[in-house]
Subunit: 409 residues, 2 copies
Amino acid sequence: MKTDIPTLMQDRNLDAVVVSGNTDTSSDLAYLTDHAALERALYLHRRDAEPVLFSSVLEREVAAGTGYRVRMWSDYDMNGYLERHDKDRLAAMVAQWSDIFRDEGIYGRVGFYGMGDAGASYVLLRSLAAANPNLDVIGELNPNLFTAARETKDAREIACLREVGARTTAVVDTVVAFLQSQRVQGDTLVRADGAPLTIGDVKAFIRMELAKRNLDESQENIFSQGRDTGVPHNRGDCQMPLRLGRPIIFDIFPRDRETGYYHDITRTFCLGDPPAALARGWEQVKAVFDRVMVELRVGEACSRYQALACDLFEQMGHATIRKDPKTQVGYVHSLGHGVGLDVHEGPTLGLAPTNTALLRPGNVVTVEPGLYYPDDGWGVRIEDTVAFDHDGRLVNLTDYRYDMVIPVG
Amino acid sequence: MKTDIPTLMQDRNLDAVVVSGNTDTSSDLAYLTDHAALERALYLHRRDAEPVLFSSVLEREVAAGTGYRVRMWSDYDMNGYLERHDKDRLAAMVAQWSDIFRDEGIYGRVGFYGMGDAGASYVLLRSLAAANPNLDVIGELNPNLFTAARETKDAREIACLREVGARTTAVVDTVVAFLQSQRVQGDTLVRADGAPLTIGDVKAFIRMELAKRNLDESQENIFSQGRDTGVPHNRGDCQMPLRLGRPIIFDIFPRDRETGYYHDITRTFCLGDPPAALARGWEQVKAVFDRVMVELRVGEACSRYQALACDLFEQMGHATIRKDPKTQVGYVHSLGHGVGLDVHEGPTLGLAPTNTALLRPGNVVTVEPGLYYPDDGWGVRIEDTVAFDHDGRLVNLTDYRYDMVIPVG
């Protein structure tokens, strides 16, 4: 939570943090600014001082709306720095940032965050450190200070996440109704105009339903059919007509345009009766899903649930990435991930040796076991997003039925 | 253009380039992969060898679809590296990348690109350099090798950009028709249900029109009215009813979900007759716009056109950022920017002392003069996106009328 940031700074013995970037790509900056729309912003926070936000004149009102003390880049005019440094962009930028740091008292152990070009960040921070003997540049691999803070959501965030969950499941519901409203001809769904209904048609329908609810997709949803369901991130072939008796994986992870929070849900569907292998696979995935949901509680290790899922799938005779990290069939991914201002964040329900996290109140994670057999023409995944409230109670944010079979015709 | 990459590598004396990140945020990676949907990908290109793309098993088919030689992260299993390096994430990642670089022959002067956390990139690249004496880590501030390549579009890209331009102007046209279809009551537009039509209603309409055309907005459009038009990036107050005789700035910069290319257009509207100050401001901006459009040609310095715009606005008695870099009134921004897989890219029609670029065939830039007087209740901006084809001819990608007055009632 945001209120953890001072403690997280102290744990790292940081005197200050610096977060740079655009809020549409730097989630840490979006977190600090409540998802204000800012481009090329710079947030500076000295441990014992009020934070300050640098913005362009064009965005001065958006910046002011964050409640932070706001300063303008134009107070440190880049063209002037370029003239004084022989038009050397790196030297000019180092001089500009050094002056800003001096004026805002940013020195000592300073953590740098926010998204930027990797090579540019490297040369800028290296040169800043070289030019400022009193500056100790600190960087962290993920999870870092901000991703750690973001792993536990406060009550406002959980309310946002619940709300985007409700709108997302409403979209799923309209998609199921849309499929059911089509005509069946042989083993194919056909539209009112007699043409086969394609995955592209369904995706076009999804886009409109998302837009109606002010949801967007930074990455396209997965609506895959047949053997494509056996490859987890196959997004589906837009030309493919919808057929009865095939697995369909519908995995949708939209973002609320207003607050920036995501939801993540997957259902596996079959139009009409499923073939036996698919029905058995679905029952197995659902059994693992149900068992995990019953066991999930705060205070337990996040990794325990991936171990449990692997135990259960292995007992059923499936390959898992625990036994074979290279496997492309069976259970090939982690059980879940945090959801917030990024669709994939912490904590992770996975087995990395570094994953020592315990489930905590405020965590919001997906639970998404799956089985994948592309050569046998099927895959199954079932996914809900769940929160732990501040009393540690599990709250399922994905209030939607699991039924695989969609009756049609 | 992509075909310039070998020359750009040679100019920089680079033996290899490494581009990392997710394609939805790393435009350089999106460029190299034709906008394939990849998360945590790694592209390696040694000057004399075929490029290779690292992907997760989940995305192996998307990766294969790029046509590059594809390898799996699971060939260098991170959990194994963590076990062998005392669960130290940085040490494990350095060892993993070092092994990959050794196996793929990545050494010498190597340029690093792609979006990542600034501090994480710094510690990773510093540690990689320390661990590999044969690796010289090179980073570049923007513009870098890839943004330089991207500044000139090939024929396929210009066709994509023209197409997204046509769809974007169609959206603008439906918005104008939507405004005209409302009822006028006093000086306010009212909906069929008798409630005032708000900016929020217009934005909801815009969302649907974008979704119909498979366009999305990574950043929300600007639909501002009254004094808000005087602050360039004020996105408009959703609660505000639409009134006659006020300036409206409509600036929309959607992205084609299919190809990833943007378009950028701004019009300034007034429902019914404009007040005199607004009408005069609009005529002045339009005069500058027209003059620049007549003068714009390949071979000329990009900065020349910002100088021209400043000359003209100053002759009209306005403040400009050339004369006063801190001004918040008058002409407060650059004349234009490149448009491609980023909405803001190179080249820039601006006066930075480092801006020595000449306009070239394949450039796609906005032309967007504006005037801003928030305390007087108005702002005006007119913007088209134009391309230079490979014969150097200017092709206006924004085929839409400029009229300020929208007749209503």
